[in-house]
Amino acid sequence: MSDLEPKPTKKPKIPRQKMPEQDPIQRAHNFYEVALGYENDLALLEASRCLQCKKPSCMKGCPVEVDIPDFIQLVKSGDLMGAAWKIKEKNSLPRIAGRVCPQESQCESKCVVGAKGKGEPCAIGRLERYVADYAATHDDGKRPELPKPTGLKVGVVGSGPAGLTLAGALIKKGVGVTVFEALHELGGVLVYGIPEFRLPKAIVRSEVDELRKLGVEFKTNWVIGRIETVDDLLEKRKYDGVFIGSGAGAPLFLKIPGENLNGVYSANEFLTRANLMKAYMFPQADTPVAKGRRVVVFGGGNVAMDSARTALRLGAEEVTIVYRRTMDELPARTEEVHHAIEEGVKFQLLNSPTEIVGNDSGWAIAVNLQKMQLGEPDASGRRRPVAIPGDTAQIECDTIIVAIGNGANPLVPTSTKNLETNKWGNIVADLETGTTSRDRVWAGGDIVTGAATVILAMGAGRKAALAMLNTFGIS
């Protein structure tokens, strides 16, 4: 290097690479995926931002403990298939996790690159998605060698994120797995609840197929609690263990007047019709859904955002989210709120619905609202909304979606002998191991914790799998 050339000082700082997205105006009218994923050069650039920490704190933020620095190192070295298998050692559903995990509050919140406001964290989630998509589209047919079958077998109730994760973890240790699903399609909330534009069904199918290739058996249209019970699985089918991952599938309603009027949906029903039953293709697909002109959504979580954005895509002229706190307390992911705003969803904050008004033929025509203000923090740590007496409003609408959460579905808990449940009907289980009051019965995910996130359910599935393996004496 001659003296004439400037001396290189610090490495130039590479910014966090944005993921290309569909234009908001365009995407608000289609069901194609919003986020388009990294191209190769963007992924390499982003991977180069990882510091390869000796004591990686990012992994502590991951409920399934993916070896994050190791997989990113493999991306840097160009071994994308290797990177994919590195992720899959811990996470059997990386194409899903890369899309719907709240990375900003998990792995990425602990990333050193982003610590103490020095910069933005490495986009671990986007890299995971890139690697997993690459592996799925460049499948070389090679699979890691599985251990010899142990002869043990486990029944899994529910094919949602908890059940699928557990199935993946067990089959890789030589334990036979049969997954029982009530619906006709596999994936649970991933296929009925999360819209196509956020998680295409083809992605879920490819992850399920991957598990099938590893040897997991699936039975659809199989409602445990009706056609067979958990006790039947243990006694008649002679399973060595049963995992209950039946989810929080029982929609909650506000118990306000007018809630059973036509045009009022639970988010579960609205999303199931739109997603799973493909109502957006009606009448090419047979299932209809009310295509509201003016739609009101109650709630502030991811499900409320999904419902509002789905309503827009079905052709609504105006979609309003009614939430009783402020923007700062919205439980939804920042990215989803941001996407909803970009697409034109309106927010009526500090308002709480008090009544749904109907016409003579039984259809909803308006919602009465009570204005709120924030008071002292409640048990959840969030400031409690308090009614401002006399301050009310009304919104005209034709479709209402109630997205205020789900309770425990009673079918499995009430049909299983001596299975302890709490006052909300959730199964009582150890959060670290999934063990329940019944020998050889484990449980995890929303049926234990109440409605939570996909990745927490995956974490619960993984922990229960490790606990089962431990019980079976397999390391």
Partner: protein
Amino acid sequence: MFEILEKERIGPGVNRAVISAPEIAAAHRPGQFIILRTHKDGERIPLTVADKDTEKGTITLVWQEVGATTYYMSTMCIGEKFQDICGPLGKPTHIENFGTVVGVGGGIGVAPLYPITKGLHDAGNHMVSIIGARTEGLLIMTEDIRKVSDELIISTDDGSFGVHGFVTQVLQGLIDKGTKIDLVVAIGPVPMMKAVCNVTRKASLPTVVSLNPIMVDGTGMCGACRVEVAGKTLFGCVDGPEFDGLQVDFDLLMKRLAMYKGPELIALNNFRETPRGCQCTFPGGA
């Protein structure tokens, strides 16, 4: 799985099929239903199991042509398979020896009433069955019902067969005669069930009805099948389908059943324009 083994037309727009579904046949109890899809873009519709044969591993379904799905089912032939049948779903009928039970069935409602009548008869009840329809040609499964009843009264609105009048009039007649009735089970069109309950309420007779709200998943997940019973919102699929008829808000049920009238017509027209499945029989044909 789910192959159609037998199929016949048993009334105008009414068909009966025997379908291979061994696991469902084994688990099914009277009062329970299934949810089926005809094809991969079909909708999920609930139908009560009209009969079963656990040895042969079959279930029997009876349906009336109403919308795209039920018309499509009518065009499906022996040997064709349903995409999915999920079941059994719902709570089984509470069966015990009540004493004298009057079963009231109207129109297509006779099909779901049959296994319940059979179950109650087997449990030692004195079964009085009242079967009605608008006209003689619309009466179904009368011989099936006769075999499991101690008494059978048939009525038609137009008097073309049996007693001239409504099933409610026949029931009222039994009550007026002083017949000792311990339980009434009524299944049929919602207005009929409502009318039956108006009769039994006055006579303070416990009455069970089997409701048919619109459903999607049928496992308590979606809440489409909300019904109000004694002022409380319940789910037809997991809390029912049977409820205390004296407490049901039938007017709400009727309104909710009408929710998709418009789209149902669009779907039916679409089906007629783009027929699918086996084409050897046509909707509306003999």
